[in-house]
Symmetry: C2
DNA sequence: TGCAATTTTGCAGTCTCTGCATTCTTTGCC
DNA sequence: GGCAAAGAATGCAGAGACTGCAAAATTGCA
């Protein structure tokens, strides 16, 4: 969490990214994706439309991508995961690494509520959000395989762990949003993970 | 599996949808999404570009959506799920219902290989594919909640079951594609589900 | 056959997104 | 402080996705 003071250039860059992202979330949560143009967002954020596309590859991304340094973050998450002591099981270790990032939902409650509203209401946004990590999937699967000592191409386990845990994250986010963020997202994720690692037992307590 | 003989009109419609979908998969798997225009697809399928958009809301959809009657199919899947005998656990019942649809992967091997290739190579397609079911998520969660006898708004279980099972489907598809479809997709899904319902045990056999 | 319903198509127009050349800022260095 | 190089913002032109609308072609049915 140590924030090295980068130069003015870097700071301005992050600032612009943040301004565009939060503006996009606000406008889209408010009016809906189709009633907001890139021109609107850039104007409200005080940059040219062309500049918008220097920061985001698409209008959707501005709503969905919370952090400018997304790639580095997931890289760090992977490293953290690999650095966890061996006594901790693969699944647990991975959950712990992910939770660190997930904590920002509770920390930026308002913004995330707006984001979830926009995402829930729009299929395009939803799809972009669910699979945001397209580029990181391969490396992540390999990291899991490495730590678990299996072959990522031949075994289901790594891809399955990633995909189902992603599902747990999604489920937690949806429920968090349905409760208007009045419960802790992190706690919901914890519950979801417990249920997942217990093999999704029947809620009433019956076996399956 | 009984196919009621609809009128010529309906049959032509399905035919056009199918022509557009398979053409899109073939062209995009071949050249990549960005090197194929809607005009290319419609020309190859023998309809006007405008007609393309009468069938698909976006270029991506033509690659991702395999069946014209997607909505009805998922509706039927839900009904099948709800009709399963009570002795079968919620998770098992849901898996069974889903597997019926999943079988078409093995049945249309070539097409699905092309689709997976396109999807794996393109982030936009990937996101669209992962979250294709956006509109059906709500109803499905409610169906699960109904059968399990819980409140879908208050409990994690329904959303979690859907999301993690979706993850299992994805993982199975990815591995199937990595094996060039030389193994049964249905069997992979079975394995994935077993692991999931066993609580994702450590692959080596260690506990977590 | 002839009418009504449905589908296809063309067309005009909006918006997303990209490549490229130009201008403005920041930075490191003297 | 002044200056050259690097990086960022911008404008512009253009390709292509997508929509609404009305005309034309097709199909179902009396």
């Amino acid at each position: 969490m140590t924030e090295p003071v980068k130069g003015l250039r870097e700071r301005k860059r992050l600032e612009t990214h943040r301004a565009l992202a939060t503006t996009a979330v606000r406008l889209v949560a408010d009016r809906g994706l189709d009633n907001v143009t890139v021109e609107d967002i850039s104007a409200a954020a005080g940059v040219s439309p062309r500049t918008f596309f220097n920061y985001f590859a698409s209008k959707e991304d501005a709503v969905v991508i919370a952090n400018a340094d997304y790639a580095e973050r997931s890289q760090r998450t992977i490293e953290k995961f690999l650095a966890t002591p061996k006594e901790i099981g693969t699944a647990r270790a991975f959950v712990d690494a992910v939770k660190e990032e997930f904590a920002q939902v509770d920390e930026n409650r308002e913004e995330w509520l707006g984001r979830m509203k926009a995402i829930q209401e729009n299929a395009t946004l939803h799809s972009r959000a669910v699979a945001m990590n397209h580029e990181t999937i391969g490396p992540t699967i390999e990291a899991i395989a490495l730590r678990a000592g299996v072959d990522p191409k031949a075994e289901l386990y790594p891809a399955l762990l990633l995909a189902t845990l992603g599902g747990a994250v999604n489920a937690a986010l949806i429920l968090w949003y349905q409760h208007d963020g009045r419960v802790s997202a992190l706690e919901l994720l914890d519950q979801a993970v417990e249920m997942l690692l217990a093999g999704l037992p029947e809620p009433g307590g019956r076996a399956h």
